[in-house]
Every structure is written in structure tokens, then in C-alpha cells.
Amino acid sequence: MASERPTRCVVLVGGEEPVPTLLVDALRRRGTALEVVRDVVGVMLDLAMRGPAAAVIVVEPGRVAHLQELGEAVRRYYRQTGLWTYRGGQTGLERLEAAQPKPGTGTAAGDIWACGAVAAGAPAADRAGDEEPVISPAEMEMLLGAGPRGRDQSATG
């Protein structure tokens, strides 16, 4: 019988930021294989050397340099890899979407990549202090499924 390979995620924790144990524990409890990298180059290296991952999760995206370029590179070369963000104190993940600039708005290049929430769980404030997993079931389904799906599918899943 062929052995089943665990779902693989790459977690990008920028610079000297601490690795968020809540997130890591939540993923590991679900049998997800994790690689923690420290910069955007590390993400590309990991994907090239170990093969595409189910997801790249960017921790504290506001503190990660070259995030937009990373998004473009992952979308281009690893289409099956989903891009997600995680912020401390947040209960769920957010999907990093390639937002389409609205006509006439003159969206700056740096704004093209935006965070779009897909979590179907309760608001963060409602979860604070309880022992629910840090990742909502809908989000885990996204991560553990065959591949990343669109915003609408996960929100209604």
C-alpha cells in the first residue's frame, strides 16, 4: 500500500519574529508537515528543493519584505500552492489574494496584493481565551484538501 504523504506547509516568519506556537501546534495536530523559513528567498528555496507545498503561510505579513514579489512568484511558479497570512491574536488565516485594481483608481503596485479574509469562524474577539484551535475548520479544509480553492468555496464550505 502506498504511504500517504502529509500535507506540507511553508511558514514564513519574518526576521527575528517568534514562531507563533499556536499556529504551528494547530497545524501539526492536524498532521501537517511544516517548514519554517525566515525570508522570502527561503520560501522560494524550499519550494524549489522540496517541491510545491499546499500552502505558504506568511506570519505578520506587514513585517515581511518583498511580500508582493513573493506572491507573484509563488502564483507564477507554484500555482497549486495557496498563499495565506496569519497575524498574532487572530483566530484564523486570511488568504493573500491578488486583488484586481479597480478601473480608474490608479492602484499602486504595492497595493495589488491584499489580504482577503476567508475564515468562516467567529470573530477573533469571541474566540479570545477559549481553547478552540487557532485555525478554523474551513481554513484547515482549505489547507488539507487537494488544493487551494477560491474565496467563495471556502466561505460557504
Partner: protein
């Protein structure tokens, strides 16, 4: 004989140059403007090269990653393939210089990393070299300068492809002044002896042979072009080949008497030179891993230490082996053992500079000669911090590396033990230096393995 110069792919999705030799090489250029700027010079010095223009530096890692075999890497239906060189402007490396260069070295250890810089960008260019880029080419980009940066001569016959791209860069060539066979000889007096000398000097046969050919044939304006170069109208052309191997095109203003005979003559010499190079490669390279073998290592170290004693330059030797290699070999089989050796060699190459010498000197025993081509020792000099760091990073990288044939249970468990010794502090002869490095490696083993020990000269 209509031929074009080169073709530019957009992010790997573009077309290939029709009629190009099979997979002659792929060069990734950051920025479409730069790609347009270098396309002409590239095509001139590297006929048939595929130029892939990408938007930013992380795309380079994506393109290089496509060279690593595996499903799902190709987003555009393009075959990808190994990247032979990366060309970018200093600005493309902003914020990514150290990590990006290091990453490229890991993914494509043999690729040439070239920065194209304006005069006012000297500081950034120097920083790029310090970070591990191979060469800087000034603007406007000159074909000869680009050819030198790529490690290519003026004519690069496609048939001379080597199983190990780094063969073209023999570190030993940097130890001696370049030879100029037949330099003081009048062209009319050149003969076979000069051709043999040129061949033995390495890579200069074409120039000497063409001097001889011009003098003997009486053909005015005769020239040698690369296989895919465009030959102007009004010129006769003949293929320079030997059996199935095509080396170039000999051409001269029409009518050119006996051009075919001279092309055949040149083809024989070039075939002989190619054979000599292949034999040298076989004699000096480790067949399994592609790195230098013990014979080359010993020869190089002998010559290097002679030079180091003469000009007071720094040399450091790292000797290491794979902990419990026999166990892995026995448990997972010889193919797994071979993979460990190949991957270890590849990893090591990605952590050193292109002129440092990585060699396999025994079963699972490797050695690396770190040497500085320019900097000289001062009275207060000691072993460069960068070498210690490189050795440590390599040690950590091996431990973190996944060896697919070892299956998941072995991931992250493979380690190395090694020793560093520096000239002249730890030894003045090759034998003394090797003994000290071996002694340090033994200390690492005795201390529980997974360690690199430093000799007094290399210590902190």
C-alpha cells in the same frame, strides 16, 4: 546560411530560437529592458542561448527551481531546464543581496551570476561580488566583457558541451599567468608544434590555428564563426567538423579557394583538442559527484601552497566526512549512498566561491580548499571569518537537507564531521595541512560527531 542571434523568452513562456543546438543553455535576466540590452552581446558570444526575461529577482529562483526535476514546476508548459547564468542590475538585489545570492548558489551551484552596473554603481557592484556574485559587467554591455563574465571564449562550439559545466573554470588556471603559445613567433613560421603548445596551454588552439591558417592559406579575411552565427552574403562558408562533431563555420570572401580543405584541417585539430579536454576531465573529476578528484586536489594544493608561501596569501583546508555513512549505505542501499554523496557535493559547492576547490578524496571523505586570489596576509591576519561561517552553514545545511532516498525517517539526521586547518598557522606543506585538518576532523568525531573543529590557525 541565414542565422539569428538569440531569442528572449518572457518568464519562460516564450519561444525558442529555431535551429538552435539542443539545449545549449538558458540565461535568466531580471528586467525586460536589461534582457533587450544583453540579448545581442549574449547571442554573439553564446549562439543558441535561450534568454529568459523575468520581472524581479524572486522569479529567478522560480526559474532556477524549474531546473530541479519534479512535477508541477512548470507553470507555462515550457520545459525549463538548467539555468547556466543569471544576469541582473544591482537594484534587482535590493534587500535580497545576501539571501538571494546564497539561495541561487544552492539551487544552481554552477550558474554564473553576473551584475550589470553603471559606473556610479561601483559600490553596489562590489557588494554584489562580496556576496558571492561571480562578475560585474559595465554598461553599455560589451560582448567581450560579457563573454568573459560568462566564462566563454569568442567562439563556443555547441559540440563541446561538458557533463560538468564547471569544467570550463579550472581554478588552477588562476595560479599561473596566462600562457601565450606562439606569441613571439611570426605567423608565417607557425607550425604544428605551436598548435600542440596551444592545446596543452588550454583553450588557445583556435586563435593559434587561425593565425597559422591565415598565413598558410592566403585567404584574406578568413574567419571562424560559431555554429549558429549569421554569415554575411558574399562570403563562402564551410563547416568545421570532424565526423559528427560540428565546431564552427569557416568563412571568407568569395571565391575562397580550398576553404573546405582548410575547414577539414581545422576540424581535426579541434576534435583533438576536445578529446584532450575530455580526457583531462575524466582524469581530474570524480565521476559520481562531478567535483574534483583526489589527483586534482593534491596537484592543486601543492601548487597553491607554493604560491601562498611566495605571495603570503591565505589558504584554508576543510576536510570532512559523512557521519555513519556506512550505516546509511548498508541500510538504504548503494543508490541511496550515492545520492548522499552527490547531494553533499552539490550542497558544498553551493556554499563556496566558484574558485574554491571542492574535491572528493575518499569514499565519503571530501575536502575543500578555500583560497584567496587577491588578499595577502598581514602580520595580524588570521583565518577569514567567512570560511568558518561557510563551513558551519554547510554543516547546518547538510543536517537540514532532505535526502529523498533515505525516506522520511532519516530526514534531518544526516550529519558531517570535519576539521579546518589554515596555512601557514597549522601547516606549511600540503602534508602538514592535511594532517592537521584530519586531526581536527578526528576531534570532531570524538566529540560526538556533527561538528567542525578548527586548528589553532583557524580557531576563534
Amino acid at each position: 546560411m541565414g542565422r539569428q542571434a538569440s531569442a528572449i523568452e518572457q518568464g519562460g513562456a516564450g519561444g525558442r530560437w529555431p535551429g538552435a543546438a539542443a539545449e545549449p543553455g538558458r540565461v535568466v535576466v531580471v528586467g525586460e529592458d536589461l534582457a533587450r540590452e544583453v540579448a545581442g552581446p549574449l547571442g554573439a558570444c553564446w549562439p543558441g542561448v535561450r534568454v529568459c526575461a523575468v520581472h524581479h529577482f524572486l522569479f529567478v529562483l522560480g526559474e532556477v527551481g524549474r531546473g530541479h526535476a519534479g512535477p508541477g514546476r512548470d507553470a507555462n508548459g515550457d520545459a525549463g531546464g538548467p539555468v547556466a547564468a543569471v544576469i541582473c542590475r544591482p537594484t534587482a538585489l535590493d534587500g535580497l543581496l545576501e539571501s538571494g545570492t546564497r539561495g541561487l548558489r544552492r539551487l544552481a551551484p554552477t550558474a554564473r551570476l553576473i551584475v550589470v552596473a553603471d559606473e556610479h554603481e561601483q559600490a553596489q557592484a562590489a557588494a554584489a561580488l562580496r556576496a558571492g556574485m561571480d562578475a560585474v559587467v559595465g554598461r553599455p554591455v560589451d560582448g567581450d566583457a560579457l563573454a568573459r563574465a560568462l566564462g566563454r571564449g569568442p567562439v563556443a562550439p555547441a559540440a563541446q558541451a561538458s557533463p560538468h559545466p564547471s569544467d570550463a573554470i579550472d581554478p588552477a588556471s588562476a595560479l599561473e599567468p596566462p600562457a601565450s603559445p606562439g606569441a613571439g613567433v611570426d605567423d608565417a613560421e607557425l607550425g604544428d608544434v605551436d598548435l600542440v603548445d596551444a592545446m596543452l596551454a588550454g583553450g588557445q588552439l583556435e586563435a593559434t590555428a587561425m593565425r597559422l591558417l591565415r598565413a598558410r592559406s592566403g585567404l584574406v579575411g578568413v574567419a571562424l564563426a560559431a555554429v549558429n552565427d549569421e554569415i554575411a552574403h558574399g562570403r563562402d562558408a564551410a563547416e568545421v567538423r570532424h565526423r559528427e562533431r560540428l565546431f564552427g563555420i569557416l568563412h571568407a570572401p568569395s571565391p575562397a579557394a580550398h576553404l573546405c580543405e582548410w575547414a577539414a584541417w581545422l576540424g581535426r585539430w579541434m576534435a583533438l583538442q576536445q578529446q584532450v579536454r575530455q580526457l583531462e576531465t575524466m582524469a581530474m573529476r570524480d565521476e559520481l559527484t562531478g567535483v574534483w578528484n583526489r589527483r586534482y586536489f593534491s596537484r592543486f594544493l601543492d601548487r597553491l601552497l607554493e604560491r601562498a608561501a611566495r605571495d603570503r596569501s591565505q589558504v584554508t583546508l576543510l576536510v570532512f566526512d559523512i557521519d555513519n555513512f556506512k550505516h546509511y549505505n548498508d541500510r538504504y542501499g548503494h543508490p541511496a549512498g550515492d545520492e548522499i554523496l552527490r547531494e553533499t557535493a552539490r550542497l558544498m559547492q553551493s556554499f563556496v566561491r566558484s574558485h574554491d576547490v571542492v574535491a572528493r578524496i575518499g569514499g565519503d571523505e571530501f575536502a575543500v580548499i578555500f583560497w584567496d586570489a587577491e588578499a595577502k596576509r598581514r602580520p595580524d591576519s588570521h583565518h577569514p571569518e567567512s570560511v568558518r561561517q561557510a563551513a558551519r552553514r554547510f554543516q547546518q545545511a547538510v543536517r537540514a537537507h532532505r535526502f529523498p532516498k533515505l525516506l522520511n525517517e532519516a530526514a534531518g539526521t544526516l550529519t558531517i564531521s570535519g576539521g579546518l586547518a589554515s596555512f601557514p598557522w597549522d601547516g606549511r606543506t600540503p602534508q602538514e595541512l592535511m594532517e592537521k585538518a584530519d586531526e581536527m576532523a578526528m576531534q570532531s568525531k570524538q566529540a560526538g560527531k556533527n561538528a567542525i573543529s578548527f586548528g589553532p590557525g583557524a580557531g576563534e
